[in-house]
């Protein structure tokens, strides 16, 4: 699979490490969220057959985290964003 890195252009997926569903960006506040909320965040997955937004880390490149939109049935990649931009658009500052 080729991932079109927003800064570096087309890169082989072998250069990346896969983490999983991009909802992992939205970590609950550990001081206020309860055990059930954290259980949901940490272990439960939607795991769709079809379009999936997921986190890839460019370990053998610029060490950036990307949010890749990929179809889990065809492996087709339709969108690649910097995870930083996605997190900031959700109001995260870091």
């Amino acid at each position: 699979m080729i991932i079109h890195h927003p800064i570096l252009g087309p890169r082989d997926a072998q250069e990346f490490v896969y983490l999983g569903d991009a909802s992992l960006i939205e970590r609950p506040d550990g001081m206020t969220a309860g055990v059930e909320v954290f259980h949901e965040y940490l272990y439960q997955r939607t795991n769709p057959a079809g379009e999936h937004r997921e986190l890839w880390y460019h370990e053998q490149g610029d060490r950036s985290w990307l949010v890749v939109t990929r179809n889990t049935v065809t492996h087709e990649i339709t969108r690649v964003e910097l995870a930083r931009d996605v997190a900031r658009s959700k109001g995260r500052s870091k």
Binding site: D21, R45, N47, V73
Partner: protein, 416 residues
């Protein structure tokens, strides 16, 4: 029709005119007592044991494609019970005991071959871990032997014993482990279930679940609504898809795992061998092909095919262990979809929906579990309580911190 040597001789003398289709192709009835979703190994075994061991009737198995077309026909056919933890070992040992009597039990030749399995050891630390695991196996009646380097060399003199990174120092062996003809397992269970009146309904995809007041009433399918008192889901690989019909999210991801078979060779490997350090395992089929595999591709996938980088990685593992296979040609590769649970262990449990039960999360290891999984799931469906060997396979173990973490690596969806 009962199969036997006399039957083969009698049919041979009469032109093989007496063989009949092995199961019916029934139209779905309006309602059943039990619906099992998924006509793979686990679903068919569940239906078989529901009818045979638990005396139940009015059972249907719904299969989206054809019987045995999923992971039961895509695995590398290995059976074993070489686990460490109390939550696992009694269950897998129960399964291995069922394998040992399976062919007589369902009167079908599944080619169960207890040719022994070895896990290679390369360091002192691995030997300590293998010793501990072997002792746990012996305590549960599974049997185990620790082999030294010379004993491994006597079995397989052509292995690369002096690999600079992973020199072979010994192995943990389970002599009762082995291989089984995987398709015949599905066919044998299907035939046994059909003979006891179970309706095996193929080309019947579940498209929805009818749930009223927190209780399951039946399933919507591509062949219309079918009512049911109890519904069991055994569709590992597609569990998240099917359980989404009940509004449930599961602690798992779906990943593709590839497997490989080489061209036929003369007898080379008479058992099963795992090279965990090199992410490689291998056995040899009765036709002579080397059957081997390695890691999952590593990203969520519902495509039953993988990519080339993993093929290269597995081939490198094979070459590191067995330099002699360098010129062997690959005959076929294929992929299956695994439910990768968060701790590498399965789930056989009730759900928040009354009358809806779940069996899945088998990761790499579903095939060897087939008989015990079917038995334990049938037990749960009938008695509403887990079988004594499957009490740890609960949904709530992640919430309660009771993970069955066989390798001690922590919870993540890419284990084993």
């Amino acid at each position: 029709m009962r199969y036997s040597g006399f039957r083969v001789i009698a049919e041979a003398l009469t032109g093989h005119k007496g063989w009949k289709p092995v199961w019916r192709d029934p139209t779905p009835q309006a309602e059943y007592d039990y619906i099992i979703i998924g006509g793979g190994g686990h679903g068919l075994a569940t239906a078989y044991y529901l009818a045979k061991e638990f005396g139940q009737a009015r059972i249907a198995v719904l299969e989206k494609g054809y019987l045995g077309g999923g992971n039961v026909g895509r695995n590398t056919t290995i059976i074993r019970s070489n686990y460490l933890l109390d939550g696992n070992e009694p269950f897998y040992e129960f399964s291995l005991k069922l394998w040992e009597g399976l062919e007589q039990d369902f009167n079908y030749n599944a080619m169960v071959s207890q040719r022994g399995i070895i896990n290679l050891i390369h360091t002192d630390a691995q030997r300590d871990a293998a010793t501990r695991r072997g002792n746990a196996m012996i305590l549960h009646g599974a049997g185990a032997r620790l082999l030294n380097r010379d004993e491994v060399r006597a079995m397989y003199p052509w292995l690369n014993f002096d690999n600079a990174r992973f020199p072979i120092k010994g192995a943990l062996m389970q002599p009762r482990g082995g291989t089984v003809r995987h398709d015949a397992v599905a066919w044998g269970y299907a035939r046994g279930a059909d003979m006891r009146g179970v309706d095996l309904i193929q080309n019947c995809e579940v498209t929805g679940m009818r749930i009223e007041n927190g209780r399951i009433r039946g399933v919507e399918t591509s062949r219309g609504f079918i009512g049911a008192k109890k519904v069991g889901v055994a569709v590992a690989g597609s569990s998240s898809k099917v359980m989404a019909h009940a509004g449930m999210r599961l602690p798992m991801e779906s990943h593709v795992l590839q497997a490989f078979v080489s061209e036929g060779l003369k007898p080379l490997i008479d058992g099963v061998m795992t090279f965990g350090a090199g992410h490689f395992y291998v056995s040899q089929s009765d036709k002579g092909g080397l059957v081997f595999g390695g890691d999952i591709d590593g990203y969520n996938s519902y495509a039953q095919r993988g990519n080339l980088p993993v093929i290269e990685d597995v081939a490198e593992g094979g070459m590191a262990l067995m330099p002699a296979i360098g010129r062997v040609r690959l005959l076929r590769t294929w992929g299956g979809i695994m439910d990768m649970s968060m701790d590498g262990s399965p789930i056989i449990d009730k759900t928040p929906v009354e009358g809806l039960y779940f069996n899945g999360g088998w990761c790499y290891g579903g095939f060897k579990a087939t008989p015990a999984s079917g038995w334990a799931f049938a037990h749960l469906l009938v008695k509403d309580e887990p079988h004594k060997t499957a009490t740890a396979y609960r949904f709530d173990r992640f919430l309660k911190g009771l993970m069955i973490d066989e390798k001690g690596q922590g919870a993540q969806p890419n284990l084993h």
